[in-house]
Amino acid sequence: MARIVGVVTTSHIPAIGAAIAKGQQDEPYWKPFFGAFGAVHAWLDKVRPDAAVVVYNDHGLQFFLDKLPTFAIGAADEYRNADEGWGLPVQPPYRGDATFSWHLVESLMAEEFDLTTCQEMLVDHAFTVPLRLLWPGTGPCPVRTVPLSVNTIHHPLPTPARCLKLGRALGRAIASYPEDLKVLVLGTGGLSHQLDGERAGFINRGFDQMCMAAMVDDPDALGRYSIRQIVEAAGSQGVELVNWLVARAALGPRVAKVHSNYHVPISNTASGLMVLENAN
């Protein structure tokens, strides 16, 4: 049977991809961010996942406002990256696993999560940057992937409580897959930031640190927030926290924190990183 080896949550800021492309990881601006990934690489070497379910939000590469799914999942054997318009190098294709994807879809649908299924799906920086951070080599990404896109770009958004429920159902869907597959669940985005309006540049360290603590001990505390309250506390793009909630909830109620990092700023954003495992 498949099992979840753990959850990684990380920011997915495009500037990270640009820094990787330019080899700036050891520069003073970037070192406090990239330096925190050594512990993640050591953990990945130990748990050796075969597949990653990547919970992220598309930023207008695959989806436009004309038809915008709240939750969309890839069901393909390959996913392509493409030009997003502002200069990030296009990554080579990522391996998918359509059979695993369809199992997840069937299990989630049976639990009343009516996902949009995508047999062709472009994946943007919110998918590619975290995978580059986890597996920084020049070779192709070593795990099979399943993209799961959550709408965080145009209101109304799914509530934090709904995202926790989706994550719990995702955890059950993974656990019921008959193949012997080690699965990483990756939640990307956040933490606090705001790109638009007069409040651009807003960061809320206190709220972020409360969220990182609650991710370990009490994710339901975050599920009691409304989207409006998260926008108020974390900025209009801080709502990407819901991707973290989906990923967190795929684990059981009791988790152990393997590693975490919080660094301000990367570009306009408070960057966060967590590695969590089910507690024994």
Binding site: G60, H154, H155, G197, G201, E232, N268
Partner: protein, 112 residues
């Protein structure tokens, strides 16, 4: 209180205020040939997307606050800004009325 905190994010909570045509034009800038076509003949390119006067003027002025007020969504506007190699920090500086270096310094100060 919330509205004040959101600043000018009209797109924030009222989906009816989103301008499909303006955002559709910005979405088209995912493709290099469309960015080049815009730079070649801005007026002709805008005409293909039926912008209203306020949207057309805001595009001409490359003004992000005006573009948001005219129904632009920041994720698609970022692709428009990309034509001029404007980063989110350039956009942040423009919207807050700061020089870019001051905006970056304001962010760096939050890390200390």
């Amino acid at each position: 209180m919330l509205r004040a905190l959101e600043g000018s994010t009209r797109d924030g909570f009222d989906p009816g205020q989103t301008a499909l045509t303006l955002n559709k034009m910005c979405y088209s800038f995912n493709r290099a040939e469309n960015r080049a076509a815009f730079l070649r003949d801005e007026e002709a390119y805008c005409c293909r997307f039926v912008l209203d006067d306020a949207q057309r003027a805001a595009i001409g002025r490359r003004n992000v606050l005006e573009l948001i007020a005219a129904g632009g969504n920041i994720y698609y506007l970022a692709k428009f800004a990309g034509i001029f190699r404007m980063s989110v920090q350039d956009i942040g500086a423009q919207q807050t009325g700061m020089p870019v270096e001051a905006f970056k310094a304001m962010l760096a100060a939050k890390g200390r």
